[in-house]
Subunit: 346 residues, 4 copies
Amino acid sequence: MKTKVAIIGATGYTGVELLRLLLHHPEVEVTALTSQKYAGVQIGQVFPSLAKQLQIKCEELSVEQVSKKTDFVFTALPHKTAMETVPLFYRSGKRVVDLSADFRLKDSSVYERWYQKHTAIDLLGESVYGLPELHRDKIRSAKIVGNPGCYPTGALIGLIPLIKKGLISLEGIVVDSKSGVSGAGRDVVLESLFCEVNEGVKAYKIFAHRHTPEIEQEASLLAQKKIAVAFVPHLIPMDRGILTTLYVQLTKKMKTEELLDAFQESYEGEPFVRIYPKGKLPNTKDVRGSNFCDIGAVVSETDGRAVVVTAIDNLVKGASGEAIQNMNIMLGYPEAMGLDVAPLFP
Amino acid sequence: MKTKVAIIGATGYTGVELLRLLLHHPEVEVTALTSQKYAGVQIGQVFPSLAKQLQIKCEELSVEQVSKKTDFVFTALPHKTAMETVPLFYRSGKRVVDLSADFRLKDSSVYERWYQKHTAIDLLGESVYGLPELHRDKIRSAKIVGNPGCYPTGALIGLIPLIKKGLISLEGIVVDSKSGVSGAGRDVVLESLFCEVNEGVKAYKIFAHRHTPEIEQEASLLAQKKIAVAFVPHLIPMDRGILTTLYVQLTKKMKTEELLDAFQESYEGEPFVRIYPKGKLPNTKDVRGSNFCDIGAVVSETDGRAVVVTAIDNLVKGASGEAIQNMNIMLGYPEAMGLDVAPLFP
Amino acid sequence: MKTKVAIIGATGYTGVELLRLLLHHPEVEVTALTSQKYAGVQIGQVFPSLAKQLQIKCEELSVEQVSKKTDFVFTALPHKTAMETVPLFYRSGKRVVDLSADFRLKDSSVYERWYQKHTAIDLLGESVYGLPELHRDKIRSAKIVGNPGCYPTGALIGLIPLIKKGLISLEGIVVDSKSGVSGAGRDVVLESLFCEVNEGVKAYKIFAHRHTPEIEQEASLLAQKKIAVAFVPHLIPMDRGILTTLYVQLTKKMKTEELLDAFQESYEGEPFVRIYPKGKLPNTKDVRGSNFCDIGAVVSETDGRAVVVTAIDNLVKGASGEAIQNMNIMLGYPEAMGLDVAPLFP
Amino acid sequence: MKTKVAIIGATGYTGVELLRLLLHHPEVEVTALTSQKYAGVQIGQVFPSLAKQLQIKCEELSVEQVSKKTDFVFTALPHKTAMETVPLFYRSGKRVVDLSADFRLKDSSVYERWYQKHTAIDLLGESVYGLPELHRDKIRSAKIVGNPGCYPTGALIGLIPLIKKGLISLEGIVVDSKSGVSGAGRDVVLESLFCEVNEGVKAYKIFAHRHTPEIEQEASLLAQKKIAVAFVPHLIPMDRGILTTLYVQLTKKMKTEELLDAFQESYEGEPFVRIYPKGKLPNTKDVRGSNFCDIGAVVSETDGRAVVVTAIDNLVKGASGEAIQNMNIMLGYPEAMGLDVAPLFP
């Protein structure tokens, strides 16, 4: 029998992406969609792309109602709302993958510095940071998974082998990310209008983006030492994709091939990580619509600096695809089930 | 046992799209890829999007070699080259879906007026025009299917019910199409450079586009009367998608709802046609990456004119998806097998 | 002494475009900008593109205050608001170019059918439809100029010679227009979000767009016979530009060259109309940022149909540039003054 | 009398941009255009954007012929060809602004390591690196100006005040640049096709881009100490614009406001540099089509790192606009003459 799944907050971009991907998942059936704005409306009318494939109406959120008809819950709500909703599902016995920021940060004081008061501190211990490449084992039995942010996903997958293997100085790490516009969500704001975004590129929230503590938490945990990164996100005129360019200082002499070998070794067996050979570099266009994270790297042998580049689709590996990967792990399905979809090129 | 399939000319945009889709086809295995330019190269190196999903090298075309290891052939070659290659596979007993223009036009003199001398006239009788919505029955047993052009697919699916049911005047039909750039293929020409195309829109080949006779052939056949359409294609700055706006004169008083009902009735049971309700109009963005053809329509009750709008992904329903749909019909598979992929939105 | 100019509603896209162009006008000085939203803010902070070039603060609209410090007024307000504001400036003795729809339609009943109640009907007789290619002489002495809509500008410049010279049937005219997103203005609505628009194309308001009566009014006036056009606007993913494809039936046998000659003759001496030679077709990219309207045409000799294509920048010739052209005519300046700016390519 | 100007290699993107801008220069007349490919063709046919504004035919390059009819020469040739051509004009007594890389690097061995053999080494001493913000005085009397590369312009304008005032460590500087596609020129290559570039972002030539030695030369000269930067260029899907994000380590405690004040002070009086106030960051969209370089900055007070962001239009301040600025300086015209054009927004 298929697992019955709910999507809470189904009408944002991560919601429609969850639906697109879950439609192909052989062991899952979506049985509840909630939406404040579109309650009572067929999902195929909210998103014509889904018409003729899924007959299900959005409903207002009632934890009780949803709990009755589902086995597993994705919450795709804004932070704060997530914090209020997830505990209710938790208490009704549901396992949850939460796509907001509310269950990612382990230290509530860090959360409160970057966001606002946390009202479910007791559950932070229950939740697991949902980056399978880092925490697969803990995710397996987690009750709540805090699905990683899009930028942290791209940054951390590039940093993990470097830190784990002690290849880099933990000082002075630079994380320069370039994101498509869907990362800003479907909120109707001036900054996301076509004519404001198209044919332009800008940096934003320098040293102040809320994904910074998330990158630093996981990097520090891995290094067992406090790491501060200089993280700058940029907005570029495309729908999907995040390219992250990492600048690091190597701790020992290495060639590009050796660095790539270290990545290869670290990610042996990972279903969604692809390491590029020397001389090739990833492009977000080659991962679009898929759960892949592509990685390239170059070493400057003269001064021991290295650049690592990662490419993901922010809505897939950076959000909904990763959430399904986490669900697969939690439910004991093959990790790539429903996610073995090739990128859309061109 | 899976059907073994070859793609001849695998490294253009229709080739990579065939591969993307066939990767999900449960009854098909791709066992041969040919490419003049990339012979000897792993397909995952030609198209990094396909890396880690398909291990197969491009080879130079040898009909003999390919025939040995495959059961079914897609030819994605330029016209003229197709005309020389398809007969060889035909004679070696293979059934072929040809994505070029060479087996679409029934009248060789029409072909020769728009293209060049036809050197396989004897096979024109064998081939079937591969629009399932028109010729499903003939396709079933066809040896050669001439897969429709991208523009004709969008235009004809909009015209079929109107002509079949005698709803419109056969004079004065206007077909105004807007296409993304991938329709021009992967040829390296000035006109396809990013900076030449982006932030602009133009009409091209007015009254002179080679898809005109194709639209007229099928429309005339259906009407059993010679139809001439005014067809103007336009190039717009996006990767994929064709929106076709049809202007017709109704032969009797109708309301918008009645016209839409006629479409609904005509396409009852069609797996890939979606009719929009009154007040909604299709957007190519809602079919991107899928085999759907979305249709909307509006009647001007004051003067009896009507506008019908169709949206397809030119690389899927307008090329590779339709080719697979044809293959499914030819091989007796469920028609939507491998094609039940939801559009990528946004 | 320079003419002192006010822009009422300066912080939309037509407002910033008026400013961009007026900065180069040697005889004009902008001395008042009004904005409800940005009152008190330097215009260079509203639009960083204008920083360091113009030091002027937005103010709340006071007709009295603005009248004191200006000689000439551009109103770039939404319709209805314009209708309430323009009469006040008129009564205070100012000549006005109004960029809204409120003073374009001569017949108030037509206006009221497409918009809402008209509250300044008495001024409709005073106002002139501001298409210089049609009404230059009347514009010269007009007190109020109703600056044409963007679509009507592109459509009418293509139709004028055809109608004037009696070259086409007045029945069955099709006007298929493709517009960039800035035509929708700077309103913060879901439909204008980058991710909703990018990589898609759609038709909208078929037979129902408010520019229809405007095209029909001027075409009918010229023909001295009622003309109904089938007008369908489309939205395409670019900032600026409108391409209009006109489908007409010629009343006599003509070759493409002859049709182009007719255009050439009609527009002899027009500073902003460029006729393309046979075999060349316009692209909005070649007029971007300029006041040009480029025209191409093709005749189908077999059936006497013709296609005429026009390209404009909707914010320049379709709005702010045309408004300045009208101002130049009204004030006796050379018509191209301040508008002799070359298109931005690429 | 106007200065007669030649553009050698007029049919690339920097050529058409020189023409667009020079059309508005009140003291300059373009009297010769050369093009190998389009010799004999009116420039308005090569670039329809220029039609009706400039009547001049492209001709094959003859230094003698061109020298006869011009006073001043812009060479917009590929490197190597430039190196062969510039000396001829020099010897015929013409002053030249060269837009290639051939006269930028002072040390021929550096040039030869990054490019190829240099055949005009004797002229390297004659030439001045044409960044007015650095070398205005020397440019005034230069015979040959090596017009800076697009990336170095954006990087150096961001670095100059920091180095000059000793505000940063000279170690570990990161230069992460994001460029529109026109930076790749008008060469017809696969990588520049619309469908290869659109909806994607990639890094390229990591540690290996030829603009690296140019940035390092000028930065080192200024610091009087050898500086090595980690420079990574990225390609993003837009026509024009370069955003450069600089990561530096401050040598003393500073606030963001103080850093911005330092920039303000350094660039006091510069006609084309705009410093953003705290809390605002530049967007390439706000400089498009103009010669401005916009600058923003943020300090991380906790660890003394700072990020500086600069935005230019790569074809204007990064190429043709800067070339005209240099010409103005060389000829004693006001530096902003012909360049006082407002950015095109949106």
